[in-house]
């Protein structure tokens, strides 16, 4: 048996994992296990920016940011967690800058900021009596809050954190793929991972383990997510009886490259870009009269679907246009400063977007609009945690000792029913840092507890079974059916009927999955074997997602039930928890949303009163 022992063990080397590693390794022996080389992690694909109320270009406050985050999440956000996020974002951004992150700069040398969907401040000119449609009639207006480095902000964050990990001498196990958690008496004592280069299993004994394995958008047919995003952490925890929270909320980003799903940043619209339908109409005026193209992502994605259903797609097809031409921005007066811009300005602000469109669409966005469709992008749900990143096992908030999560794999919950653009990167650094500190503190307080005999045995049995069975069908057939089902029956719009169909399909696919064998029987770099194991994770998460969506008979944020079109606060102002309760069986529980109360005129009232969300 290959045995390793670290006080603190981090699984995943994206933004959350590396941030936690920097914090933890200052205090205790720490190692990072990652199935990719760290710089391949999908944080590097984040584009437009990371929000923090620095107020470098206009007045702003963390309170504005917190309000936007809670409203953006359609009030399913835990409010203390959101306030922590927005307050600590400011300090974290300065911390990243001090680590060397190359933010773009303002003329006076400070960090440059841009607008993003749903990020607003109170309109200083607001007049409730003003006629509708006038500027003074808008209660809130867009604010420049997203700190950026062109349209490659995530790349800069990932590189900077990895650089600092090298400087600090953090121990990495690159291309080690976690396959199991070692759980004893409800506590986590380590993990089992396969060394991809040799096929050998390794047991990592640890006092605290952080799951920072990222998202699982690969369960959908059209996704912005990397192949690697298969939700290994949440799926493995779910198999160990731990709950998944708010899985029914999966964000579709409105502007994916048609058919491929590659992300075209919301910064396109933050910088003045506009979406048009097949009739040449700026359709967001209908759906979000105030913020228009800068409404939240769920609103924009639904609007595109509505246009396509009404036959208003381009040439009647299932896509619309995103137009970032300088002439369009100038015609509609949508540049961030209101001043005229030229093509060179657009190229400087969005160089990677322009290159993606040229490469993958054969379209030059300086001269033509880009065909786009909503793309599965981000899991608001995941492993329930508290503010220290500790995993919670039930609605009462019972902590799972030794087990933590941060980033997209976690649900703390700062994104609620719909995440605002840029807030994923904020989440990574703020809660990655908090989890890294907390897991190190815990490791300092406790002693190593013994591992059970042969902790790798279940993993070895699962691998041996896959290697010994004959190949019955290509595993990708099961994957393709899962992705199509999730896209069509559990996508932007759902109904009880479509979800029931999805549930039955997933059960059938899980049964077929059990008979799969792999063709490659080797040990060295058996990527086929790993792909099949990853598919198993996605199927489990698809099961939980559909279960959450079936149970929530209301529409909120990214979860749109056509048979229940309204938000139902009386019944569903609460988080869902999905448990695996036997083979192909799930159970659903709920827990209250964390609400902050304040004293007002001697009365205790909610600080963020529920309101109907309009943009």
């Amino acid at each position: 048996m290959n045995y390793h022992r670290f006080d603190s063990l981090i699984v995943g080397a994206g933004g959350a994992g590396l941030m936690a590693a920097l914090e933890s390794s200052k205090r205790v022996g720490t190692a990072v296990v990652s199935k990719l080389y760290p710089t391949r992690s999908h944080t590097g694909a984040a584009q437009g920016g990371i929000a923090a109320a620095l107020a470098n270009l206009e007045a702003d406050s963390w309170e504005n940011h917190a309000y936007d985050t809670i409203k953006g999440g359609d009030f399913l956000v835990d409010q203390t967690a959101a306030e922590v996020l927005c307050k600590e974002a400011v300090d974290c951004i300065y911390g990243l800058e001090h680590m060397g992150l190359p933010f773009d700069r303002t003329a006076d040398g400070r960090i440059s900021q841009r607008r993003f969907g749903g990020h607003t401040k109170p309109n200083p000119k607001y007049d409730p009596a003003a006629p509708a449609g006038t500027d003074a009639a808008k209660p809130r207006v867009p604010v420049m809050r997203a700190c950026h480095s062109a349209d490659r902000t995530g790349h800069m964050i990932l590189q900077t954190l990895y650089q600092q990990c090298i400087k600090q001498g953090v121990t990495f196990f690159d291309e080690f793929h976690m396959l199991d958690l070692v759980m004893v008496d409800g506590e986590c004592r380590g993990i089992v991972a396969i060394e991809i280069a040799t096929g050998q299993l390794h047991t990592f004994h640890a006092k605290s383990v952080l799951l920072a394995t990222g998202g699982f958008g690969r369960m959908f047919k059209v996704s912005s997510n990397a192949y690697a995003l298969t939700g290994d952490g949440p799926a493995i925890a779910y198999r160990h009886g731990l709950p998944l929270q708010d899985m029914e909320f999966f964000q579709f980003h409105p502007t994916g490259i048609y058919r491929l799903g590659i992300l075209l940043s919301e910064a396109c619209r933050g910088d003045g870009g506009i979406m048009f339908n097949g009739k040449g109409e700026r359709f967001m005026e209908k759906y979000a009269p105030n913020l228009k193209d800068l409404a939240s992502r769920d609103v924009c994605s639904r609007s595109i679907y509505q246009e396509v259903r009404a036959g208003n797609g381009i040439d009647g097809k299932d896509y619309v246009y995103l137009d970032i031409r300088a002439e369009t921005i100038n015609k509609y007066g949508t540049s961030p400063t209101g001043q005229k811009v030229d093509s060179a300005w657009v190229e400087r602000r969005l160089p990677d977007i322009i290159e993606f469109a040229r490469t993958y669409l054969g379209v030059d966005p300086i001269k033509e609009p880009m065909p786009i469709q909503p793309t599965a992008h981000y899991a608001m749900g995941g492993l329930p945690t508290n503010l220290e990143g500790q995993l919670l096992r039930d609605a009462a908030g019972t902590v799972v000792p030794g087990l933590y999560s941060a980033g997209e794999s976690a649900c703390v919950s700062v994104h609620g029913a719909n995440r605002l653009g840029t807030n994923s990167l904020v989440d990574l650094v703020v809660y990655g840092r908090r989890a890294g500190r907390a897991m190190a503190r815990y490791a300092q307080e406790v002693e190593f507890k013994p591992l059970p005999p042969n902790p790798e045995a279940p993993t070895k049995a699962a691998i041996d079974a896959l290697l010994s069975r004959p190949r019955t069908e290509p595993w990708v057939k099961i994957r393709d059916e899962m992705q199509r089902t999730m896209m069509d029956d559990c996508g932007v719009y759902r109904t009880g009927e479509s979800l029931t169909r999805a549930r039955d399909t997933i059960v059938e696919l899980k049964e077929r999955y059990k008979t799969l064998g792999v063709q490659d029987k080797g040990s060295v770099f058996n990527t086929g074997l790993l792909e099949v194991l990853e598919l198993g994770c996605l199927l489990d998460l698809a099961e939980a997602t559909v279960a959450g969506a079936l149970a929530r008979t209301e529409s909120r944020g990214a979860h749109s039930r056509e048979d229940f079109p309204d938000r139902d606060d009386a019944r569903f102002f609460k988080h869902s928890l999905i448990y695996s309760s036997g083979e192909n069986q799930t159970s659903v529980d709920y827990k209250d949303v964390d609400v902050i109360y304040v004293e007002k005129n001697g009365e205790r009232v909610p600080k963020y009163p529920l309101e109907i969300r309009k943009y």
Partner: protein, 256 residues
């Protein structure tokens, strides 16, 4: 996957295969595949793997040119498989092999450790022990523009493994490591330029570069690598590190 409805095209895909558990030496295998013009070479390879031969092994993740996993030699030239489209391939034969200069582990997968070791050897991180201010360290748009090009590196190794001096001498740090040293040498906030320049002044440092320009043409991020290497050489020769961009570069990078 395809973004156009145009007809598919028959491709003969020749892949250099090697399985250390079975083979004494690498060999070529050939596959016939129907590909759409808008398919990426990565899509073609994954179609081979998923529908014809699951034993083919390669690295991949983001599939749109930002993670750097799928660097390989495509028709004799280093590139990311996810950034080359079928419509841009000449002829009906696609030849794919692992990058040169790094040990092959299996099929298209090379051992990246020597590459990352070179990268780590040049202090690729900001060094500044001055007390940090309570907000950001200031940096003018012109200072920020000075090193913008070298921040784009994704460590895919296309450059280093296309470099003839590196093929001849794998102790040479290689272009990618120099680009990442450049990233900090010319950053006005950094204080360790002299240390990095000393590292690169070594016999296995920047002077191994023969300005072949292979690195520049191979870079999927369009970094002007040879020019950046020349700037490091110039700094070594003149002892002068200029952290201000010239006016063109500033204009190119300024966002306000």
């Amino acid at each position: 996957m395809s973004t156009s409805d145009s007809a598919t095209r028959k491709l003969t895909v020749k892949i250099k295969r090697y399985n250390p558990e079975q083979d004494d030496a690498p060999h070529w295998e050939q596959y016939e595949i129907e590909a759409h013009p808008m398919d990426r070479v990565l899509d073609v390879l994954l179609n081979v793997k998923w529908y014809q031969d699951e034993t083919l092994n390669l690295r991949r993740s983001c599939a749109h040119g930002v993670c750097g996993s799928d660097a390989m030699r495509i028709n004799g030239v280093n590139a990311l498989a996810c950034k080359i489209l079928v419509k841009n391939l000449k002829g009906d034969t696609l030849t794919v092999e692992p990058m040169l200069g790094l040990p092959v582990i299996k099929d298209l997968i090379v051992d990246m450790k020597p590459f990352f070791d070179h990268y780590k050897s040049v202090m690729p991180y900001l060094v500044n022990d001055d007390p940090a201010p309570t907000t950001e360290r200031l940096q003018s748009p012109s200072q920020r523009a000075r090193y913008d090009d070298s921040t784009k590196c994704i460590l895919c190794a296309c450059c280093t493994t296309s470099c003839p001096p590196f093929w001849g001498d794998q102790k040479y740090v290689g272009p990618a490591a120099i680009v990442n040293a450049h990233r900090f040498i010319f950053d006005s906030r950094d204080r360790a330029a002299a240390d990095r320049l000393e590292i690169l002044n070594d016999t296995e440092g920047v002077w191994r570069c023969r300005t072949v320009f292979n690195c520049t043409s191979a870079c999927p991020r369009d970094i002007k690598i040879t020019q950046r290497i020349q700037e490091v050489k110039r700094a070594l020769l003149t002892g002068n590190v200029d952290v201000e961009a010239d006016s063109t570069e500033t204009l190119e990078a300024a966002t306000h």
